[in-house]
């Protein structure tokens, strides 16, 4: 055919990816700087914040729906990331910060996005007064709003780990769980504790618009575990070199679709395009699972021996394919292993095939961390803090982003389930080690940053 530049095979491949393998654009996230909203009156601050978010993101939903239809690609979420609130809140007291959170919630509601991220602070080296106030406001902010996501960066490879902040976060997670106990402690699903947080991550709950970002930007998160699963199934018992090539090629195509959507959305919104985050982000839908990919690589169940190696291969091949496809790959890019959001993970946890310890090991090679894991409600704050410390240590030493999003489900214990509904999924409560870490957490201070030489 003279005009048709694609084979029927290629056209059908794209359509099949969407219709039967759940290829989608997981999120278009508009990053908005709030630095120019600063005011010494909390009321003015809130008004400025509302106006700016509403003005910049007003057309997001409409543009997103248009693009989805025109390219035949579902766009699942539309989200907003803003400058960490700790940077714009001046002398706000905790009660003022609560009003900022409520303002963000209202603005997100006004432009019809389901999550807005950036109720955040970066405290890896120490805490300012406003950071302390923001910490104090987090549990209430999560309980009183529906759409606001909070995140805290407690460590980095350059600065080490702020163990005081980590100790505090243990208590804050507990408090957020208690305040939202009636809704399965869902407040904690909107709270991420990072080490080496990235400033352009479009995925919730950890998205924020970093201080080094431009005025506004459009970032896109692409997913597609189902597409990768189908591709490696077709590869049969190929060796690892061939398997990596299959994953790379698939990641390449997915990323290109993401970049097209991101650039088109940016142009139509009149904002600069930022990055594509190519993350294999699972959903509870069967077939849309990272765990199933690992199992297809050759595991009886995710969580058994070999899981870390399989994940390392997957994560690296995804990045290589993505990096070839776009000049601006950013965010977290890799494979996510949330528990409650992945049908394969849920099944493995239900049967005890995967434990929190194995998940921790896997986070050394995945793109983020201990994510959406429900633990017994009676887990002490110090134990939660110690889990955060372990995870942050992995990130700090390995120069990668790690994160913790734990849900101590109040009133529930091992064997019970929590159901968050929708993309947040459902999960069995998994056991944590019951021996105390209290003395470790009580020490306080900072764990010094690691050597960048002698790296074995």
């Amino acid at each position: 055919m003279r005009h048709l530049n694609f084979s029927g095979e290629e056209i059908l491949e794209t359509i099949t990816m969407v219709r039967t393998e759940q290829l989608d654009i997981r999120t278009i996230t508009v990053g908005i700087s709030l630095l120019d909203c600063v005011s010494d009156h909390p009321e003015t601050l809130c008004r400025n914040v509302y106006e700016k978010v509403e003005r910049v993101a007003r057309d997001l939903r409409r543009v997103s729906a248009e693009i989805s239809e025109e390219f035949g690609l579902p766009i699942i979420n539309n989200r907003i990331a803003v400058t960490p609130v700790s940077l714009i809140a001046g002398r706000c007291r905790p009660e003022d910060l609560l009003r900022v959170a409520e303002t963000l919630d209202r603005a997100a509601h006004a432009v019809n996005v389901d999550f807005i991220g950036g109720f955040s602070a970066h405290v890896e080296k120490g805490m300012t007064d406003i950071d302390t106030n923001l910490f104090a406001a987090i549990p209430q902010a999560l309980a009183k709003t529906k759409r606001v996501c909070a995140s805290v960066n407690v460590g980095s490879t350059r600065a080490g780990l702020n163990m005081d902040a980590i100790a505090a976060m243990g208590g804050i997670i507990k408090r957020a769980a208690e305040l939202t106990a009636a809704e399965n402690s869902i407040g904690c699903a909107k709270l991420v504790v990072f080490c080496n947080a990235v400033e352009d991550n479009p995925f919730m709950a950890g998205a924020f618009h970093g201080a080094s970002e431009p005025e506004c930007t459009v970032n896109v998160g692409v997913s597609g575990p189902g597409v990768v699963l189908r591709a490696i199934k077709a590869a049969g018992d190929a060796d690892f070199g061939a398997l990596a090539a299959v994953i790379r090629r698939t990641a390449f195509k997915i990323t290109r679709a993401g970049e097209l959507v991101g650039r088109t959305a940016a142009a139509r919104l009149g904002l600069p395009f930022g990055i594509v985050d190519l993350s294999l982000a699972p959903t509870p839908a069967e077939g849309d699972s990272v765990a199933r990919i690992l199992e297809e690589i050759g595991l009886d169940s995710v969580g058994t021996h070999g899981s870390t190696a399989a994940l390392a291969l997957l994560n690296d091949a995804v990045k290589k394919g993505g990096a070839m496809a776009s000049s601006y790959v950013g965010g977290l890019s890799g494979a996510f292993i949330p528990l409650s959001e992945d049908a394969g993970m849920i099944e493995a946890a239900e049967h005890g095939f995967i434990t929190i310890d194995k998940l921790e090991a896997m986070t050394a090679v995945c793109s983020v961390g201990l994510d959406m894991i429900a633990i017994p409600g009676e887990t002490p704050a110090q134990t939660i803090a110690a889990i955060i410390a372990d995870e942050a240590a992995i990130g700090m030493i390995n120069k990668k982003t790690t994160a913790v999003r734990l849900i101590p489900a109040i009133g529930k214990s091992v064997g019970d389930w929590v159901d968050f509904g929708g993309l947040l999924g459902r999960a069995p409560i998994v056991p944590v080690n019951t021996r105390s870490s209290q003395r470790l957490i009580a020490r306080g201070g900072r764990i010094p940053s690691p050597l960048q030489a002698l790296i074995n």
């Binding site: 059908l12 794209t14 035949g72």
Partner: protein
Amino acid sequence: MTKKTKEGGTPQTGRAIITIIGSDRVGIIAGISNVLAEANVNILDISQSVIREFFTMIMMVDLAGSAISFHALSERLTRKGQELSVRVEIQREEIFKAMHRV
């Protein structure tokens, strides 16, 4: 600058690919072509073949002269597809270029 079409939305530009999947029968090309003609959308190319056991017809169309919005066109095609018991998709050409061409 942003001239509106009859049904609102920005004017159409570029090319799109229409994919029709289902069992072969009388009147499919006629039905789909009719919808396109009414919308003043020019057909640049048509091919049909059996791919992965499906009867597949692929059309490349030019949206430049379209009298209606992409959304309206897509809806009319879907409705016609239902009448003919085939699945009809319309997607901008760029998505295939992005995914299958380096």
